[in-house]
Symmetry: C2
Subunit: 200 residues, 2 copies
DNA sequence: GTCTATAAAGCGATAGAC
DNA sequence: GTCTATCGCTTTATAGAC
């Protein structure tokens, strides 16, 4: 992929985080990316196509830093049975941090989910990312509680990821302080793990 | 309040559910309400003012049918200790139904939350409704588990309501079937109540 | 591939008659 | 209170030069 194209996508994520999907103006995007409006239409079909591509881009970027984080969580080459819960906690809390690129990704993600309610074209990308996310969390829950049935792990993972989105939305819309959102998330993990343990 | 004014607000809720807050066009609203564009500007300051009024209207309407539901859950004048959990379940599942006015309210609410990320003017309404909602759920949890500490009830209520919003968003954006969303919600209530019981 | 200039349409808002 | 007609800005999208 060309540098310019990528630069436009980066800029689009930034502008979406600032103005929202519906507030994104091609002109403002052009300024942010340092290119002309026409070039955006050269690289992307139209405004909607650009949004679809940006969603895919944001998803990939989120996966990328989740992977980095997971790698960083493993200091050596061994994976002791001790910290699987810590890793799960870190992965979920990763989206609840007031860092520029995290906030940008979370905001863009929330916008795209909200837009998908009215634009079925955006749903494919969204559903895919959601499935991957649930799968990952279910796997990590499985490491923590190997005896729990698969269906229970998936259900717990769906609850935890949906809760994460709910908390993230509240945080970003200013009705829940970040520290409380993080606390609720940590508690929820504890509650779900206890629930899975109780199934044995 | 005049009939016309109310009719416009009803129509606005319908159009928002169809197109989103950002997709609402005054012209489409006029058609939906069966009035002229000019009349909308006669009854409301401007587009933003109209949106604020509509969101307040939707909140009131939601409170109204929640209250009706609560009343319906009490067949006689007595409130036996038996079904407080059923009432809680009903109240939370009320927002996860494929009925026109529920879908309309949930969609409008989701839009309001999403818009508030970029428009601080909308946050007051949102925060207020959120606090009331958490308070209600915490009270009902308290009826089910009278010995649980207040702080634990509030934390559980915050998790449950945030989860509800997350599940609702997934349902409305087409990435989670309604039946699954309802199942996850029911399970979460069970998990949270068990958690509160475990604190004794 | 990238730009400048411009067409074309969309849309909020108002004037003025009834 | 309600309508028709219209203004004028904003924004998407394209034409055509380099």
């Amino acid at each position: 992929m060309s540098d310019r194209r990528t630069a436009i996508l980066e800029a689009a994520a930034t502008v979406i985080a600032r103005r929202g999907v519906r507030g994104l103006r091609v002109e403002e995007l052009a300024e942010e990316a340092g290119v002309s409006k026409a070039l955006i239409y050269y690289h992307f079909e139209d405004r909607t196509g650009l949004l679809r591509r940006t969603l895919a881009f944001v998803n990939n970027r989120a996966e990328r830093y989740t992977a980095e984080q997971a790698a960083a969580g493993q200091p050596a080459a061994e994976t002791p049975a001790g910290p699987p819960l810590r890793r799960l906690e870190q992965a979920l809390l990763l989206e609840l941090q007031d860092l520029p690129h995290v906030r940008e990704n979370s905001t863009a993600w929330g916008e795209l989910r909200a837009s998908a309610v009215f634009d079925p074209e955006l749903r494919g990308e969204l559903a895919l990312a959601s499935v991957i996310w649930v799968r990952e969390v279910a796997d990590q829950l499985g490491e923590a509680r190997p005896t729990a049935p698969e269906s229970a792990l998936t259900a717990s993972a769906e609850r935890l990821t949906a809760l994460l989105e709910g908390l993230s939305a509240r945080w970003l819309s200013g009705i829940l302080p970040l520290t409380e959102a993080r606390t609720r998330m940590r508690e929820a993990i504890g509650v779900e793990v206890a629930h899975l343990a109780g199934l044995d």
